[in-house]
Subunit: 133 residues, 6 copies
């Protein structure tokens, strides 16, 4: 169903295998999702994407669950079905409850509605919305 | 610059004025943003949108700041300039720091990148991503 | 502000001038919008786009105003600011009232909201939604 | 296939059941679509979304079929597969013919094309496209 | 699974058949993709779309493979699954290698990421980015 | 006009300055675009984004101009105004002619149109569009 076949552990080059191992260690899971197995057809892209993702999603000013909720919300807004499914599961593992999911989707829906109202009425930006910091 | 002129307090019907008052009370601010003043040209839509927004954004399983961060992230993903500006300011009022904004935008960028990778490779959804609850 | 400068009547080649004349005749207006003047930098694209547009927007099973309302709605959903402005003006010329605009934007907002709810919950397509005709 | 399981009539709380009954009454149909059954996992969201939808889609300055056509067009532009399927079926029930569907999709395609042309050439907004009413 | 059934060769009117023949001749393939067979339900749209596509995709200042790669990239960015699949196959026929596909998807992902960064930070357009020619 | 102020050379930390210098060296230009100056408010994001961009956009199976054209096309499709302006200028520097720009925008428009036709008709994916390599 994909553009290129997924790479399983046997077919992985040492370079790819090193990324798979780092994913397993970092996330504490054994399973490697289809996303990484398909991306492994382009080892440089696999390495670059995983390194960026690990860095961006690490705890910082925002905690990991909040980051994962934002990730899921953006995936819904972008209409990416795979991403909505996989980051829904990831947020669940990090503690997202059914009530939190319900509220998250409600916010995404509300934002998308008012986004269209603002765009449709061509609302001019208010003074004071610049250089917040 | 808008499709219809903003409605100021003098031009507001009692119905519109009631919503403006509720916005001021709920948010503890005096200023009514352009969004609501433009939307006031359609009083039924103003009432419906404000009532839904107030309900969706109230504290629940997710706290108000987390909801506002999700709202901002979705507005960026949808490419809505007004909404990015206004919800950036709203999140700032609720305590978003410069570091939090930086990490939020990084997550939105990362999600948009991997969304395209998943779509581009047509990655099939993994088993086990259904009925999370 | 554009990628290429707009072409005025004096700078128009006979090929471009012929399209400008056809736009004036078909729409019964003297002014040629910036869209066509910028597109005139690529005469083949100007001709192809105008011919397709004239054919698609002509009265058929849907009347011209309904078509223009759909056009405006899609431009809002796509976040195209120029198109929202220009097709708002076009719909106005064809008889769109302020109330109709308000309801149209409300529908666009509502659809965008429920689109995200359906995407977010990953709602499976119901049986019976195929081959409607 | 969904994030949460659909709620059938037996599993519906009285609050959810009341919305289901109102949907059946308002639309004159017996079947409740998957969208509402999945949304029923979050009863407050179900009630809010249905109430807004009923209000937004009621006859007004625009008749119900025109509203449904706009809804369908936006769902296509947003790339929401479930929504395109369900609102295609809804428009069909309200009288959309095969010719109307063909013209609608042609307008959506045309608008999406010219949206990209306007965005790509960065066409500046013409004077006179403001405050239409 | 479609809104309307695909039209096979037997069910094709002479008008539709002429377009099918032109597709076969122009592309040097025997198979007519589902896209054209479904579009054939609206013969005017089939003719208009095929004529535009043939003209837009013909060799010019950009060679056919470069055009097909751009087409594929846009389809991924628009989240159109059918189009990503069919234009992936078309680019393959024109000589796209697995490495080229990997780099193309990486560019699409990178662009989508920086698009969100620019939108999220509301970066002002630099002087000197106007009227490039 | 931005969410955070641009960082000029004087205000740059050594870490930020090192990235600015690498941008100047790699591109052979003196000017640092607003994008990088705004991003410099989050030095880790600046470094990560520039490193990824430099790697993704380097010559490989696709030459730099082709990659820049794909980047520009995706920016148009995503409706990112800053990115369309800045990558239009970048492609111009790499040799894009006015005719190439015209054809590129025409392909983006055409793809967006047929994307909506495929989505609107819900065209099923043809057999043989899987695992292209």
């Amino acid at each position: 169903m994909a553009m290129v076949p997924p790479i399983d552990d046997e077919g992985a080059t040492p370079e790819v295998r090193a990324v798979f191992d780092d994913i397993r260690r970092t996330r504490g899971v054994e399973r490697i999702n289809n996303f990484w197995r398909v991306l492994a057809n382009d080892p440089a892209s696999l390495r670059r994407t995983w390194d960026s993702l690990k860095s961006v999603m690490a705890a910082g000013a925002l905690d990991p669950l909040t980051k994962e909720l934002i990730y899921l919300a953006v995936s819904i807004a972008n209409g990416c079905q795979y991403c909505t499914a996989s980051h829904g599961a990831a947020a669940r593992r990090l503690g997202m409850t059914k009530e939190m999911l319900g509220e998250l989707i409600a916010v995404v829906g509300m934002a998308s509605q008012t986004n269209r109202l603002a765009d449709g009425y061509r609302v001019p930006v208010d003074e004071g919305f610049e250089n917040l910091f």
